[in-house]
């Protein structure tokens, strides 16, 4: 098989597997994929109901502030938690397929990215509702999405390998995610936190992505050089680490499965 026809075949496999993920996800619901749009809206409504009052003075347009963080966070958790079990879920298939098994992990992360696209429909509607003026810095958002995707993908590789050997990773990761969420300043203004935790938040890649997107959409400012560096380093660093570990463990994964 030539390289290009092989790539085409891999793309076909990814499309088929992604279609399956979506069909499965909404298999018993009437609204189906509409839920991907509704979910962020409902969550925004709930959080805004409670916290808009609380943070009235420090955050303008609280619902947008929250929603920006929420859709990125959802994409990240959606990608990593589903990709973590990708190898184990498909263990029957791993032995007979001819394409690299990375594709199973990649598909789960890609599904989360498609889901983000649906959430963006809700996001754009809300930007209109809250009369956020269009800014040219908004054109930056695809770069943020891409960085977030690469970071999530790298971590997904690490988690999926770890999960093959230790089932506990799943439970441990749930706890880690809770901590991680509170350190990402999704629903509160970061200015209210000082000291060590503040430093943790500001090195947290998720916060960096959220922060840069908020700046681009709500304030119309570009990331600083330091923020650019952070975004790219986290994305490519995590991807490199994940890919490397995955390559190295390939044979042990096959033995274990």
């Amino acid at each position: 098989m030539t390289a290009s026809s092989q790539r085409k075949q891999h793309a076909f496999v990814i499309r088929q597997l992604t279609a399956r993920e979506f069909k499965r996800k909404y298999t018993r619901s009437y609204l189906g994929v509409v839920w991907s749009v509704l979910n962020p809206l409902l969550s925004m409504a709930v959080l805004s109901l409670i916290f808009s009052q609380l943070f009235r003075r420090s955050i303008e347009h609280y619902p947008i502030y929250y929603l920006t963080g929420y859709i990125l966070w959802q994409t990240f958790t959606g990608a990593t938690t589903s990709a973590m079990t990708a190898l184990v879920d498909n263990k029957m298939l791993l032995l007979k397929v001819k394409f690299p098994m990375e594709l199973f992990v990649l598909t789960r992360a890609y599904t989360a990215l498609i889901n983000l696209a649906y959430s963006l429909v809700a996001y754009v509607v809300m930007l209109l509702v809250f009369q956020i003026s269009p800014k040219w810095t908004m054109l930056l958002s695809p770069v943020v999405f891409l960085c977030l995707f690469l970071f999530s993908l790298g971590l997904s590789y690490l988690l999926s390998v770890a999960y093959v050997f230790f089932g506990d990773v799943k439970h441990l990761y749930t706890v880690v995610l809770t901590l991680w969420m509170y350190c990402s300043a999704i629903f509160y203004p970061v200015e209210q936190i000082q000291g060590f935790i503040r430093a943790v938040i500001e090195t947290n890649p998720l916060y960096v992505y959220i922060h840069c997107l908020r700046k681009a959409v709500m304030l119309g400012t570009l990331p600083t050089y330091a923020e650019w560096l952070q975004m790219l380093l986290w994305a490519f660093g995590m991807l490199a680490a994940g890919t490397l570990l995955f390559r190295k463990s390939r044979n042990r994964i096959m033995q274990r499965i």
């Binding site: 597997l17 029957m92 032995l95 007979k96 397929v97 690299p100 044979n251």
Partner: protein, 262 residues
Amino acid sequence: MGIWDTRSRAGRQTPEPDTEIEVRNVTMEFRRAKDEATSIKELMVRILRRQHAYETFKALDDVSLSIKKGEVVGIVGTNGSGKSTLLKIISGALIPTRGQVLVDRSKVQLLTLGTGFDLELTGRENVYLNGAIIGYSKAFIDRKYSQIVRFAELEGFMEEKVRNYSSGMVSRLGFAIATIRDTPEILILDEVLSVGDLFFRKKSEARIKEMIHGGSTVLLVSHSTSVIRSNCSKAVWIEKGRLLTAGDPKDVCDAYEKKRKV
């Protein structure tokens, strides 16, 4: 990519021109901790107490085997004897601990049934999903779709979820998808015979025979010695990871059956 290493080697040192698969002194060891740690907590406890004893388990022990172009080789052996490990090594899914396999992996096609169906999807969706996974292109499936449905005798059921299929219908569909391709040069069959009801079984056996006798090199694992007797030109008996005998199917099957009765 690691698993393709052997292919480049194959180019340099293929011993005889008509040898298709050359298995050289292959040993496969699985290192498993004595009742392996399945949780991080357990692992920590073990490491702290230095109870990190491994035992190696030999799934295959110094197996050598050479298969010529066009041979139909049957592999017999009791469950857990290492038959499917050998198939996985030949197809490239596993890399042996020692030894090597010389074979052109791009020619190898492993055929197994009953895996990869998603019960929540319809029959049609599963044809495309399953086809994609086993390496068919979209154009190929588009072209062969109606032929697959006809062979599986599922006209009128393709828009229904596979969840609502009977087990016979599922295996018919699986068989139809897996065997619609043009016969590959090296075909590996892992327990694919005896599918579906009696009528379909005849049809599937006919298709398999067509593939087997279509000139490809075939490796076939089966519990049924009669299948091996009637189809193979050579048989191999593997027991506890060791290759016991290889040769005429009749002799090997006789010896195997005699041993099993004892």
